[in-house]
């Protein structure tokens, strides 16, 4: 048994308002919590295959990202395992490999984390701007809470800083 290694990966473009909500959530997580050694939190921005090396040895991956599901803005969304790559469709990344490809390539190489969960929110406004939209900004606390709860369910001791 390899020791558990958990990666919390915030994704999104912080220049495109709510597209960056995943990054905003992990920024908050890093600022507000003392993270145990087995947990790495990463602002993955819009990086693609550059993140491949960060997936090496990861046993559980928690992705935090904006998810467009046709639901009311701010709706919390949780996707598990196989639903993630299917749901990602074509829209994941900028121009190179995004999360979907990252996961496919990991599967091909046999390095896919055993557990993959995505937490996110339905975004409202995706347009140029460094700030979240007024309706989404107050929802980040709830998103961070659900990420923390997920980690606790995985047996991680999460303590406020």
């Amino acid at each position: 048994m390899q020791p558990p290694k958990i990666l919390v990966l915030g994704l999104g473009n912080t220049l495109l308002q709510d597209d960056g909500l995943g990054v905003r959530a992990v920024e908050r997580l890093m600022a507000e919590y003392d993270l145990p050694e087995e947990v790495e939190v990463l602002d993955g921005g819009v990086m693609g295959l550059d993140l491949l090396s960060r997936l090496e040895g990861v046993t559980a991956l928690l992705v935090v990202d904006a998810v467009r599901a046709g639901l009311p803005p701010g709706t919390p969304i949780r996707l598990v395992g196989a639903a993630i790559p299917t749901a990602l469709g074509q829209k994941m990344s900028m121009h190179q490999a995004g999360l979907q490809d990252l996961l496919a390539v990991s599967a091909f190489r046999g390095t896919l984390p055993q557990r993959i969960v995505l937490h996110g929110l339905e975004p409202e406004i995706i347009g140029w701007g460094n700030e979240l939209s007024p309706n989404i900004a107050p929802q980040i606390d709830k998103l961070v809470d659900s990420v923390v709860q997920e980690l606790r369910d995985w047996g991680v001791a999460m303590q406020h800083a």
Partner: protein
């Protein structure tokens, strides 16, 4: 918008026999936001229109900010172009304020940019473009022993045994059986336009996997020079924010230098013994693609990799200049950035001076004026506005940028190494110089410049080492750091040759703050729509005459467009879980 991952091909039904219009959307292998419509008559493309859905408005984010912070924002435009947007941004501010960076900062920027070339070009070749030439599924029927012979005939690379290729084939079989093809799900497998023997396909799949491991290693150079965070942290207006100190474990020191040299050697080894031979194999088996896919015949490079601090473009290892009409026999023309103008006649913007005007980027305006379809549609109205990309032009002509442009300009300038590599490759394939101006020429140019840059890395690291050993540790020029030292009004432009092509950032600084900011990225040059004079953009032009065997599976069109390495910087990338996938959504209570 189509929800499929495979490019959705729409076609016109009420067309005369032998004539039809098709739309390919998305055109990028991995994400959407790019669309090409082509008119096909009797099996050949007779006209083409390219449309990008990205909306540029970076100045909306940057106006009013401290110019010294701009790079940290611009590097977020795009996940793969982080470094290039950061470099162009700090250079724009330095240009506006008249700052010369120390020698060490120049070298480190060259290294960061050079590594970006290696990583981007190799990844593009194996992970994006190869799927246009390599039939992954056919690799399953390859004979591992014959693959081994093929591998040994083109390179001395050690991973070449029959057992090795059999193991790769086994891995591929498991992956295909799983039904989750992921990144491979969007090839036109079995299309007659695929020409590699199964063994060639297996070789490429093996190298696809090896390239992943390799890039994971070489990119460690970015961590050494740019910081641990995936986004580079060490750029700084006036230099770099990474200390050089032989006595400090946290700085660039002898052990880091040794690590950099070893990674650079690994980089060069893979490029010269895997990527470059594979590229030649593919080029030799697709001779028809050396005769089509050329674009406008006009090429532009802003140049990059300064070899000294003179600030003079003649000091660029990759030269700056302009080549007209595919002419490699006279020296390139000097680039005059005042000749760059952007048009919006067919773009979804409005200019105060009227939509027929052309504006220099320093005077650029970004006022959206969307007139396109409001709901599902089959075809865009290409007589009117049809793209979110503006149409940049140089001296009012559409210009190709990117590897082919750089290689053409370097060749015309008599660049010794580039000229040697081009002549050797053409000689080996028995092709005339004109073959460069083609889809395969673009693919080859990318490999040629990757090799030439990879060869430079070790020398650049050596210069850094020499400086360190002689006590030259300067890394940041602080003389104009304080806004009190700045003029009240300053305009600058910063350039870099991004792997995809010329990148320019223009900044207007007023009273210490950003008053205006504009960028022209490579994909906007290449993927631009028609301009006010009705001239096609480079992609549009490159498709004219392309044969399309099966309009429902237009791999020929993808080959040419992908040869430009399209990048929709600033495209939206939200996870799309709509449509049939909505049922899978689990609402958190």
């Amino acid at each position: 918008m189509p929800k499929t991952f495979l490019p959705l091909v729409g076609s016109q039904t009420a067309a005369p026999p032998g004539s039809q219009r098709i739309a390919i959307d998305p055109i990028t292998r991995i994400e959407g936001h790019l669309r090409v419509e082509v008119q096909i008559d009797n099996g050949r493309v007779t006209d083409a229109w390219s449309s990008g859905t990205s909306f540029r408005g970076m100045e909306l984010v940057l106006q009013g900010r401290d110019p010294r912070d701009a790079w940290a924002f611009t590097q977020r435009i795009c996940g793969v172009c982080t470094t290039v947007h950061a470099i162009a941004s700090v250079r724009a501010v330095e240009n506006a304020l008249g700052i010369v960076v120390p020698d060490n900062a120049r070298i480190i920027r060259n290294l960061l940019e050079g590594i970006q070339y290696l990583q981007d070009h190799v990844i593009h070749f194996y992970h994006l473009h190869a799927l246009d030439w390599v039939d992954v599924v056919s690799a399953l029927s390859a004979d591992p022993a014959a693959t081994s012979s093929l591998a040994k005939s083109i390179s001395s690379w050690p991973n070449s045994s029959a057992a090795y290729f059999a193991s790769v084939q086994g891995k591929l079989q498991v992956f295909v059986n799983s039904g989750q093809l992921g990144i491979f799900a969007n090839g036109y497998w079995g299309h007659p336009a695929y020409k590699l023997p199964p063994e060639g396909n297996l070789l490429a799949v093996a190298h696809y996997l090896e390239a992943l491991d390799w890039q994971r290693e070489v990119i460690k150079m970015h961590a050494i020079l740019g910081g641990k965070n995936p986004h580079p942290q060490t750029y700084l207006v006036g230099g770099m924010a990474i200390p050089i100190d032989p006595a400090s474990p946290a700085a660039i020191n002898p052990s880091r230098i040794a690590q950099l040299k070893s990674l650079a050697a690994q980089g060069l080894d893979f490029v010269s013994r895997v990527y470059y031979p594979d590229l030649q194999l593919i080029a030799s088996l697709y001779p028809e693609w050396t005769g089509m896919g050329g674009s406008t015949g006009n090429y532009l490079s802003v140049g990059d990799f300064p070899v000294n601090n003179s600030g003079n473009p003649s000091a660029f290892y990759v030269p700056r200049g302009v080549v007209w009409n595919n002419n490699l026999d006279s020296p390139p023309q000097d680039l005059d950035q005042n000749q760059i103008k952007e048009y919006v006649a067919h773009s979804w913007y409005r200019y105060a001076a009227g939509d027929g005007a052309g504006l220099h980027p320093a005077q650029g305006e970004t006022r959206p004026n969307y007139t396109g379809p409001q709901s599902d549609y089959d075809f865009l109205n290409t007589d009117g506005k049809y793209s979110w990309l503006k149409a940049p032009r140089y001296s009012d002509a559409p210009m190709e940028v990117g590897p082919l442009a750089r290689v053409a300009i370097a060749y015309a300038a008599g660049h010794p190494r580039i000229k040697q590599l081009v002549d050797e490759l053409l000689g080996k394939l028995g092709l005339p110089k004109a073959a460069l101006f083609s889809t395969m020429g673009r693919v080859a140019a990318r490999g040629i410049e990757t090799l030439a840059i990879a060869e430079q890395l070790n020398g650049w690291i050596g210069q850094l080492e020499t400086n360190m050993n002689s006590g030259n540790l300067a890394i940041h020029n602080k003389t104009r750091w304080e806004p009190a030292t700045w003029p009240a009004d300053a305009i600058g432009w910063g350039t870099t040759e991004a792997p995809r092509g010329a990148l320019g950032h223009w900044i207007h600084i007023k009273n210490g703050k950003i008053a205006n900011y504009q960028a022209i990225v490579a994909t906007v040059w290449n993927g631009s729509p028609r301009d006010a004079a009705g001239q096609r953009g480079p992609w549009e032009q490159s498709l004219i005459g392309t044969p399309v065997a099966d309009p429902a599976r237009p791999v020929e069109i993808l080959r040419t467009i992908h040869s430009f390495d399209p990048c929709m910087a600033c495209a939206v990338h939200v996870v799309d879980a709509a449509g049939s996938e909505v049922t899978r959504i689990q609402i958190v209570p």
